[in-house]
Amino acid sequence: MSVLIYTESAAGKIKKASIEAVFYGSKIAAQLNTQVVVLNIGDASNDELATLGNAGASKVLKYAALTTLDSKAQSKIAGAAIEQEQATVIIFTNDLVAKAIAPRLSARYSAGMVTNVTTYPVINGASFVVRKPVFSGKAFVDYELSSDKKIIVISPNSFPVEKSGNVATVSDLSYTLAPSDVTITLKEVKKDNTDHIPLPEAELVVSGGRGLKGPENWGIVEDLAKALGAATACSRPVSDIGWRPHHEHVGQTGIAVKPNLYIAAGISGAIQHLAGVNQSKTIVVINTDKEAPFFKAADYGIVGDVFEVLPKLTAAVAKFKANAN
């Protein structure tokens, strides 16, 4: 028996969210008294993979990177590891990869699954109870899984990692993909040539709405983001009218974010916008209208004009950072 954590690496690095998943898995394994095995598909070196011991892994199985995400191929590789290690609990972090692969494994193994989990399971014999946000963050639900195999896809930035100082052993997973398992051909990659922080992984987010009046005014949003080391986001109308790129649109029909800090500038706080940001730990709202609904969801509020407040906040952040160094 084992707890298996599915991870990937790119450009030699393991994502922070994957390390959280390894730690999460190790906590469950400690309760079940079983091994913690990590599967890593990618290009990280053996030395890099061995550091997963620090997050609780005892053994890492590695497999060479594929050219692109292929749900069938990757689910076959994961299946090989699950069967070899007799995994009964399989952990993913909630990202594009998990969305592609985890449901396939659930159906293949009749394994109950829950996505975007925010708690450690309450374990009672064969029963695991885990919690996730539903109704776009307007409520939580507790799900019980009692199948032989269970798949838990955890919410990123929810489980702080405690380092153990251990080192994991690293070996290759031997498995040969059948040609029919490779189903996707990569034609082209279009990277936007900025090095901005990707929103789903961001710990700090500065977001602008229609109150910014036009795309030419986004400099003050970007300045604050830069001072903080934050990602930038926007409300839906802002991306619909083309002031900002679509991948910045947060909310019910855009990306759901869960940063430590979400700063909303000139956004009214419509229920569909809140649906994508209400899991943020701390929310700061800047709005000229003291009745704006966003203030009800805020921890800190400034009733004021973004064109005055944002530069002042940027200056205060810069001053704070300078003093901290």
Binding site: A102, R104, K187, D195, L261, Q272, K281, F295, G301, G304
Partner: protein, 246 residues
């Protein structure tokens, strides 16, 4: 081209979420149900566009009770050719997926389209499960889709960009923003929707892999602390020392 679009119903996005029976059931009284936006705006509209351009047939499929027929009629009004309802109130994603797979298995669809997720349960699971049960290729979260010569060309997000990929039909896809634009049904569509028939199919008896124990509403925020534009140093200090986020 034969296209199946799996549609679910969801509470209108402004719905007040409340629970009853010791927090085990969602209060459905006074809820306005809509077609799940991802299924309607992206999956269904793109399916209709492909049919209009290349010919073929678009069938919509819902797993649910008879009162789901209103949202199925909305799909007719938008232009779906046929509709099927599998007569069971699903208790989890697997029950939904298993029933969809049983129905689709011998129908030779070229494309089976899903939304990215339902906005009430936010699972994003059903499409991938159906792909596995039918042993088909699955692309999740596609933001563009074109078909030519039996090959689908798709775009999907990657970290800091997008990639363009290809896969052979038949194919299962979950759709997100970018794939199409919302359509407003026209009068002719609405009239035609009234007279079309919804085929009802019996459930396959699959049982759930997960059980809903209890709902909970999030704790109320303890209240907003206000600062003026001239107190930004104080705000930054609070974010550091009190909220501990910077």
């Amino acid at each position: 081209m034969k296209i199946l679009v799996c549609i679910s119903k969801a509470p209108d996005t402004t719905t007040k979420v409340l629970f009853k029976d010791a927090n085990t059931a969602f209060v459905e009284e006074n809820v306005t149900w809509i077609l799940n936006p991802y299924d309607e705006w992206y999956a269904l509209v793109r399916a209709l566009e492909l049919k209009e351009a290349q010919g073929g047939n678009v069938t919509v499929l819902n797993v649910g009770a008879a009162d789901n027929e209103a949202i199925i009629r909305k799909a007719f009004a938008l232009g779906a050719d046929d509709a099927v309802r599998i007569d069971v109130e699903p208790t989890d994603a697997f029950v939904t997926a298993s029933n969809i797979a049983s129905y689709a298995k011998d129908k030779n669809y070229d494309l089976i389209l899903f939304g990215k997720e339902t906005i009430n349960y936010n699972g994003g699971e059903v499409g991938g499960m159906v792909a596995e049960l039918l042993d088909l290729t699955y692309v999740s979260m596609a933001s563009k889709l074109d078909i030519a010569g039996g090959v689908a060309t798709m775009e999907r997000d990657i970290t800091n960009g997008v990639e363009i990929i290809e896969a052979k039909l038949p194919l299962v896809i979950s759709a997100q923003k970018g794939m199409a634009e919302q359509r407003i049904p026209n009068m002719r569509g609405i009239m035609a929707a009234r007279s079309k028939t919804i085929e009802t199919v019996a459930a396959n008896g699959a049982s759930a892999l997960s059980v809903t124990k209890q709902f909970e509403l999030p704790a109320e925020k303890s209240g907003c602390k206000y600062y003026t534009a001239d107190q930004m140093d104080e705000l930054v200090q609070a974010l550091h020392a009190e909220a501990k986020v910077i």
